[in-house]
Symmetry: C2
Subunit: 268 residues, 2 copies
């Protein structure tokens, strides 16, 4: 693969305005980029008042209306698109479940989905926890791993993706705690991967306490360099030229961050 | 347990001057501290020219002369002391082995040792890799975990210690890469532990390339706050009052950083 231009799209969704949120987010994707990552729950907004409200605003992947708009855009613009959205699914007994998901849409019309594993605070009342672990997907000529927001806190998330071969982490987020932008530098260093964190900005104050989202969307290299970033308040895009397959796992000529692991020593 | 005063002691050892290095390091331990952490290989210096030189300067734990000085000091000053040193041991066949170790000495004369698991660069030519995993030890009224320098890069190190019950990581170091001070903030956040990183300063240029050690010894809280730190060039001490047993694992009222782990999702 050759280098590609990647973008973290930073938006401020209006709660419940799915078609408007999708249109405004896609309008911010730079013309020349081959990978665009949109925030967590970028179609609906974040603070659902109830599980019923989440079900009402969620959609099936890839048949839902936002997904269709993303698929069309990916094909029309020859861009791989990753977007966070509320996914409506049915379990084996036909009951409705809602996942906090990230869907990936390729230019050829194919798609993949990750369901958030580590739920934050009151998300535990709204969403089912991800039931498919941390799969990786071929996309834009490399291997992509998806993680969502609070997954940043658990080193096992990025580690599992890197061990499965991901060279590039796409990370939709709705961050309210301040630590993630720095922690993602650690995640990139310890796994020698790129990470594109697309966070939202703005404030939501609906059913629960006021939430202020911290922005600071960024693209970080396997050497822990912040290649591009947004500010903490405005919508925008962080854009960088990256080459995931030009990097290796050698943090020094004699230290491979994955091969030097010693799983025997990690047993309790 | 009640709160205790902890110190990260930052020194610039003179290569090979074991008795002088020990005396100068101990002279920097504040009178009132109950835990002092000294740098990696603080008795000998870092850059051994050969494995034979490492063997010649290494000592058995706890019978060696530096260990005896540390034990005496711990008892006399009622302080728990953690120090990095080259440990001489024999394997089952009587062959000499050298470990890059951290020894812990309690005021009551008892001791414990950790042998560095993740060896950095040319350490692979000098030392045997740690053969005892990441054990934790009761000390200063809590549960202490030991890790050494480059172990910072592997999230499994601090994670294993935290899962085994460590509330306080003692981390002797000889850092040359720039990333560890920030990464240790991530380690403390993701495990909700304290960390005392004692690094050295100064330059060594012996057998191999010149090494410039970055200092910046620090004490970090479970909330990722840098409670105390040294500069990048001078010997000194970073001192803070900490209470490891007053903290819990709740990064939010509904999120426990250990209980929220989902090991099933981390399978490849």
């Amino acid at each position: 693969m050759s280098a590609l231009t990647a973008a973290a799209i930073q938006t401020a969704p209006i709660f419940g305005d799915v078609s408007g949120n999708v249109a405004r987010a896609l309008a911010r994707v730079p013309a020349d980029c081959r990978l665009a990552v949109l925030p967590e729950l970028c179609t609906t907004g974040y603070q659902f008042a109830s599980r019923d409200e989440a079900i009402a605003l969620a959609e099936p992947v890839p048949a839902g209306p936002a997904c269709q708009a993303f698929r069309d855009f990916a094909a029309r613009r020859d861009t791989t698109l990753v977007a966070g959205l509320a996914e409506l699914a049915r379990d084996a007994d036909g009951r409705e479940r809602v996942f906090n998901s990230a869907a990936l849409f390729r230019p050829d019309g194919t798609w993949a989905v990750y369901r958030k594993v580590h739920l934050f605070l009151d998300e535990k009342d709204l969403f089912a926890p991800g039931d498919r672990g941390f799969p990786v997907f071929p996309a834009c000529g490399t291997t992509v791993g998806l993680m969502i927001c609070f997954d940043w806190l658990f080193p096992e998330a990025a580690r599992t993706l890197a061990l499965a071969g991901a060279t590039l982490l796409c990370h939709p987020a709705n961050l309210v705690l301040p630590h993630c932008p720095e922690a993602m530098i650690t995640r990139c260093l310890e796994n020698r991967v790129f990470a594109v964190t697309a966070n939202r900005v703005g404030v939501e104050h609906r059913a629960r306490e006021e939430l202020r989202f911290i922005g600071l969307s960024q693209i970080v290299s396997p050497r822990g360099e912040r290649l591009a970033c947004c500010d903490g308040v405005a919508e925008g895009a962080a854009v960088a030229l990256i080459d995931p397959d030009a990097t290796d796992k050698q943090i020094t000529p004699r230290n491979d961050v994955l091969a030097d692991r010693r799983p025997q020593a990690y047993r309790l």
